[in-house]
């Protein structure tokens, strides 16, 4: 029998407004859970750049890597932009968009079951 990772109930699905983070504190960790059109995500509330409260940033899309002098917007609702210096992270795995840094944010799996939202550690 595989050991279940701990998970925490953080509220009902209906409690979540689109693109508005709910912050939970577990031990000394601050973790943001958010609902987007792409689903629920959990991500550490600390930017690996200079420690900004990342979940105060905007959930948005961004410019995809493109040919010179052309712009292509995409990844709507998939990107979290840090409020301090604008670093962009993928909500899905905490990596920087466009690989601008090797630093990444810790991301967490969020499960929805029976109308409840669970944060998995």
């Amino acid at each position: 029998m595989t050991q279940q990772r701990p998970r925490y109930e953080v509220g009902s699905v209906d409690d979540f407004e689109l693109r508005k983070f709910t912050i939970v504190k577990i031990g000394n960790r601050s973790i943001g859970i958010v609902k987007t059109n792409g689903g629920f995500y959990g991500i550490a509330n600390r930017c690996p750049h200079q420690g900004a409260p990342l979940c105060e940033g905007e959930i948005t899309g961004t410019m995809l890597p493109s040919d010179p002098d052309t712009l292509e917007y995409g990844l709507e609702d998939a990107v979290l932009r840090c409020p301090w210096h604008g670093w962009e992270f993928m909500l899905s795995d905490g990596s920087t968009v466009g690989n601008t840094s090797r630093k990444r944010v810790k991301s967490y799996r969020v499960e929805v079951e029976g109308g409840c939202v669970y944060l998995c550690l």
């Binding site: 750049h49 995809l64 010179p68 604008g86 690989n99 601008t100 840094s101």
Partner: protein, 390 residues
């Protein structure tokens, strides 16, 4: 030279022993062209008459000093060959760079082409003896399509093009090098595999309408010479953030005579700004410094950067010198002293870094015929006594 112990340790052994066998390529060797009357045979007859009638002549060599930094083939060859330490030089026709900025774009193209032809014939570029003379052929930036055609024209006839190793491109007014204005030139250079050499033309901060320096218009030569690194920095940023390295995946740039210490802070800052503003330049797909390490080099006079040996070592580390620097600007009129300074400076560095700066980086950025210099150098290394540095 007495080295601090820490530097001897860094170098692995004493400097004098370590510097005894490396080969050099000088990537910034200024050469002169004669008065225009001697260039008549290298241009259409009507243009020769045209210049004769108007009393037009080639630009003076220097703005600020009377001492000639450039010499003719005979003197240069004798000096360099006797020294036995220099395997290749990239000839930079600085006067052609300035002629290319005349407002008469057609006349500028004619004179520039004539200078190229003159240098090709009179500097024996096809002669494969040591030291090998390679030419940065000058183009005028005032008519990019014409410049591109001249680059392709040289390349079309391989025998004719032998010894051409780069394209010397001055900046057109205040149009930075990343501007699509220059793309026909980059397209042609990419097609024929030549790097672009960006070198001061003398117009920077000197003429109204020339590439401006930041903040205002300096009045004196020392001000201009200290400040002109700004021109290189602005152009490097322009190349990267306008996506030139993405648009032209094989283009290479050699920056000569702009200094190099500014590069350290420029690279750090460029990477920082890219991380914050990538969305504004999504075509910049890797960190700006990576484009530089891969496809740009900076020719330095290491003995001019600092007189403090420990500072030079620190500078080399900060520069990632093995990925960024090449040598340039040996003073042929004081060659022994100049080479001695090079030896002292390089002798402070680890052997791998030293070889990168003196030879390998130059070969990477010049490519083509410069690559064959190493084989020649290696053969010579076997001949005792021919490559000893002081």
């Amino acid at each position: 030279m007495c080295l601090p112990m820490s530097l001897e340790t860094i170098s692995g052994s004493s400097a004098s022993a370590e510097t005894s066998s490396h080969q050099l390529i000088d990537c910034d060797f200024h050469v002169n062209t004669p008065p225009i009357s001697e260039l008549h045979n290298y241009m259409p007859g009507a243009w020769a008459r045209r210049f004769e009638m108007s009393g037009f002549d080639v630009p003076a060599t220097q703005f600020t000093r009377k001492s000639a930094p450039v010499v003719d083939l005979g003197a240069a060859h004798d000096l360099l060959q006797v020294s036995g330490r220099i395997d290749g030089t990239l000839l930079i026709p600085v006067q052609a760079a300035r002629a290319g900025l005349w407002t008469d774009a057609a006349g500028a193209a004619v004179v520039t082409a004539a200078m190229n032809q003159y240098l090709m014939e009179n500097w024996q570029l096809k002669d494969r003896r040591n030291p090998r003379f390679l030419l940065a052929m000058a183009v005028s930036p005032l008519d990019p399509e014409s410049a591109a055609a001249s680059i392709r024209n040289f390349s079309a006839d391989s025998a004719e093009s032998e010894g051409i190793a780069a394209v010397l491109l001055p900046q057109a007014g205040s149009i930075l090098l990343g501007n699509n204005y220059y793309y026909p030139i980059y397209d042609a250079a990419s097609d024929v595999g030549l790097p672009i050499v960006f070198h001061p033309s003398g117009a920077e901060g000197s003429y109204l309408g020339g590439p401006p320096l930041a903040g205002g218009i300096p009045r004196t030569s020392p001000e201009r010479r200290v400040l002109r690194g700004q021109v290189a920095e602005a152009n490097l940023w322009s190349l990267i953030f306008r996506g030139v390295f993405e648009r032209f995946p094989t283009i290479r740039f050699l920056f000569g005579d702009w200094g190099a210490s500014w590069v350290v802070s420029a690279l750090w800052r460029m990477d920082l700004e890219w991380r914050d503003f990538r969305y504004e330049v999504p075509w910049v797909k890797v960190a700006p410094s990576e484009y530089v390490y891969e496809r740009a080099r900076f020719a330095i006079h290491p003995w001019e950067e600092t007189e403090d040996v420990e500072q030079f070592w620190n500078f080399a580390k900060l520069m990632q010198a093995e990925r960024t620097l090449v040598l340039g600007g040996l003073d042929v009129n004081n060659l022994e002293s100049s080479l001695h300074s090079v030896s002292e400076a390089l002798g402070l560095l680890p052997a791998d870094m030293r070889k990168r700066i003196a030879l390998e980086s130059a070969q990477e950025i010049l490519g083509g015929e410069a690559s064959s210099i190493e084989a020649k150098g290696q053969r010579r290394e076997g001949n005792a006594g021919t490559t000893k540095l002081p």
